[in-house]
């Protein structure tokens, strides 16, 4: 109890010198360690961390730029491919058109040729028929006339002259009728309409 009694008289605001010295030493020890050792290490760590973060950001930026560049490249390639495809399509279409045109022209030509040949053949047939008929009609007419007249008109030259003149007259008639009803053939042969 003597200690307590002694303490009651003490003023807590009057520090003993010994305590001041001890406190100074204690703080000096801690401050020395912090200032000389702890703080520099922390600063070092902060610096390293900042650099690491900045480096990371830089790397990320580089990668992003790279990705962007390749995206652009792909886009360009895609656009190129598209135009190319369009070109190919256009060319193909044009070629198809051309082939179609050619085929059509060919077909027309062919048909024209067939028509021409048919016409030629018909003309030849007609000619032939006309020739035959001319001969037969002449003979028949002369025969008929001979029978009617009762005398034989066998003189070839006279006969043929008369017959030919008659036939020419007939031809002239058919030509005028043919031009009158607007069609290429004469009424002398029948199957002109459908060939």
């Amino acid at each position: 109890m003597s200690i307590l009694a002694a303490a009651e008289g003490a003023n807590p605001l009057i520090p003993p010198v010994g305590e001041i010295i001890i406190g100074t030493i204690a703080f000096a020890v801690l401050a020395f360690v912090v200032i000389k050792f702890v703080a520099p290490r922390f600063e070092q760590v902060f610096k390293a961390r900042r650099e690491a973060i900045e480096g990371g950001i830089e790397r990320a930026e580089a990668m992003q730029a790279e990705a962007k560049a390749s995206l652009e490249q792909y886009r360009a390639q895609l656009a190129e491919a598209r135009t190319e495809a369009a070109q190919i399509r256009d060319t193909a279409r044009a070629e198809g058109q051309q082939i179609l045109e050619e085929l059509r022209a060919q077909a027309q030509e062919e048909s024209a040729r067939i028509v021409a040949r048919g016409e030629e053949q018909l003309a030849a047939n007609r000619q032939q028929v006309v020739q035959q008929l001319r001969g037969q009609i002449g003979t028949l007419a002369v025969e008929l006339a001979g029978r009617v007249v009762g005398e034989s008109l066998t003189d070839d030259a006279r006969r043929s002259g008369t017959v030919d003149r008659f036939l020419d007259q007939l031809d002239g008639m058919s030509a005028t009728t043919a031009s009158a009803d607007g069609r290429g053939g004469s009424s002398a042969y029948a199957p002109q309409g459908d060939r």
């Binding site: 307590l4 305590e19 001041i20 204690a26 702890v38 703080a39």
Partner: protein, 275 residues
């Protein structure tokens, strides 16, 4: 023997005396028995349990800080993270933001202050210690005097002797007749009030906090052992002691921060010429 145990002895002693009643803990709390005492160069040194607590707290904090930076990693471990948070709290929150761009060189000193006060304050609620060395006026006083010397030295070094004192004594932009009033006030404030309030604020907070805790703890013990109806109030007192311990935890951090923060503002005044 812990201080509480010592006080308990007192209580028991009182109890054996039927007419005594409860004696609240007194100033004796802060003057424990000396474990050893010696005289060196004419100065008396008394090693008490508070002195031991001071050393335990300081060395524990040193050991902790050294452990946190022993193997520093860019991605911190748990230990490093705690130390780093404390350091960057002072570095960024006080050195950089309060003092300004020139403040970073003071970060280690401010961090030392913060860690030292924090470690010692924490002793106020750590079992078996349960008294903060900062409730002995000598230790806050030491810190305040160191701060006082530092901010004056920094002011003189940054601004020159005469400009530093001139700007304090004759605030620019004040009408001349006002100097009669302002000059003594400024001198008093800058060179006497500042260090004194720094020391007193920390000391008084820890002193009062300890008294509060001891009073409630001893009160609970007394009420439970007095042997009559008062025992009902014992648990209430004990609960109060626990609640006050959490409050004390807040005060511990707050006072460490306030001390460092104020030192930051004083350093700011020294680094930057007065406006």
């Amino acid at each position: 023997m812990t201080s509480s145990a010592l006080a308990l002895n007192g209580v028991l002693a009182v109890e054996s005396d039927p007419g005594g009643g409860f004696t609240p803990p007194g100033i004796g709390e802060f003057f424990p028995e000396a474990i050893a005492s010696f005289s060196l160069l004419g100065v008396e040194f008394e090693i008490t349990r508070i002195t031991l607590i001071l050393w335990v707290a300081t060395l524990a904090m040193v050991a902790f800080l050294v452990a946190t930076v022993k193997n520093p990693q860019i991605v911190p471990g748990k230990m490093q993270f705690i130390g780093e948070s404390g350091y960057s709290f002072v570095r960024d929150g006080i050195a950089r933001d309060v003092i300004g761009p020139k403040g970073l060189p003071f970060a280690p000193f401010l961090a030392s202050l913060f860690f030292f006060i924090l470690a010692n304050n924490l002793m106020a609620i750590i079992p078996l210690a349960q008294i903060s060395p900062m409730s002995k006026f000598a230790f806050p006083l030491v810190l305040a005097v160191i701060c006082w010397l530092v901010y004056i030295a920094v002011g003189i070094r940054n601004q020159g002797v005469w400009p530093y004192f001139r700007d304090i004594m004759f605030l620019p932009g004040v009408p001349k007749p006002m100097y009669v009033l302002i000059t003594p006030l400024e001198l008093l404030q800058n060179f006497i009030v500042r260090p004194f309030t720094l020391a007193i604020r920390l000391f008084a907070n820890m002193f009062a906090g300890h008294m509060l805790l001891v009073t409630f703890a001893l009160g609970a013990t007394y009420l439970l052992t007095v042997g009559n109806f008062s025992a009902v109030f014992g648990p209430i007192s004990a609960l109060m002691a626990i609640a006050m311990t959490f409050f004390e935890l807040l005060v511990i951090f707050l006072q460490a921060y306030v001390f460092t923060m104020l030192m930051g503002t004083y350093l700011n005044g020294s680094v930057e010429p007065a406006h």
